[in-house]
Symmetry: C2
């Protein structure tokens, strides 16, 4: 049995980037490192961008993914965005991207993604701002419904992060929106134990 | 005195990506984590792509950098490529990108980069293939001359990596081209002590 080489693109926002993490890993680096230490031949492309909304990800993900893929590769996609959509802005309801448009953006992204490559989605995370977080929590639930409809596996991590003392303490001690090593490790632990992620990582092939 | 927030894009090949590193840091993640642990408010965008040549980086760096920058940000650029140019291919001399074209690509990248944002360049690394490495070492010297002409600080790391027992042992034990944690830590140590990098990291401002 050998590990099949896999290349995973992670698209999303600052939480995907790992902003605020003094270890410069974020949850993305942690789950990828854990997979490699279990013997998985995995290449990680972290394509999280600070302040990116669903609209920003929609505008760039295909071009950036294609630049990182040869046809013979086993390339896979993970998306995680939505909190920036819920921040104050110029769209309907005074947010950066109104929920209806955020859902339409997510649907456009995910429909193209699943038609092309294996795809997972991780829900948006709290930034410890009451008004933003209330909207983000609602949007995360709406993403869950959308993903069920599209048959894209979805991991809702909002309540778990919001209930984590480590998460809230580190966000408060940091820039007010992002955790540090402990908070990202909490999310990494949840993703690592997600059956859909595990199915990607534990897959081997006879040789 | 406060640390000025800085966002650094690292453009290049698999060695920038950190391919083969079970810690999923590479030299890029290690130097950024070290800077953050020294109190530097730094956001890292790792834009290394496996198999990328100078031509591939030329084709994408500006668009990918612009997608990661707001005008008010202190954004900086580090480039590191060249070993893939020297691999067997269809260009003159039987390589993927002939030296003359690699130098022209580097010049086009660096001239646009330095006119836009603070820019550094780190030289290409050995992959422990005698013929490829001989060409890469020569190209690294040519990049040094080009960078001196363009006044872009250049760090030649080729001989140091080639002479490192850790580097060569890990490349041999891995996929034959990339080191693991120890090899990337060797390069990270050299970059961390580079006066040009230090000047970026140690910079503070009165508040």
């Amino acid at each position: 049995m050998i590990s099949v080489p896999v290349r995973i693109w992670f698209f999303g926002d600052s939480m995907v980037n790992g902003t605020g993490d003094d270890a410069c890993l974020g949850w993305v680096g942690r789950v990828c490192a854990a997979a490699r230490r279990r013997g998985r031949d995995l290449t990680c492309y972290n394509l999280g961008i600070r302040r990116d909304t669903s609209a920003d990800v929609l505008a760039r993900w295909q071009r950036e993914a294609e630049a990182r893929l040869l046809p013979e590769h086993d390339g896979r996609l993970i998306f995680s965005f939505g909190a920036n959509d819920c921040c104050p802005g110029e769209d309907i309801g005074g947010v950066r991207v109104a929920p209806g448009r955020a859902l339409a953006n997510a649907e456009a992204i995910l429909m193209a993604a699943v038609a092309w490559r294996p795809t997972l989605m991780v829900g948006p995370l709290p930034i410890c701002d009451v008004a933003v977080d209330r909207r983000t929590r609602q949007l995360s639930g709406d993403f869950a419904t959308l993903c069920a409809h599209l048959r894209v596996p979805y991991l809702d991590v909002f309540d778990l992060a919001a209930a984590s003392d480590t998460w809230t303490r580190e966000v408060a001690a940091g820039d007010g929106a992002h955790p540090n090593e402990g908070g990202y490790a909490v999310i990494a632990g949840v993703v690592e134990n997600w059956t859909c992620w595990r199915a990607w990582i534990d897959r081997t092939t006879s040789n």
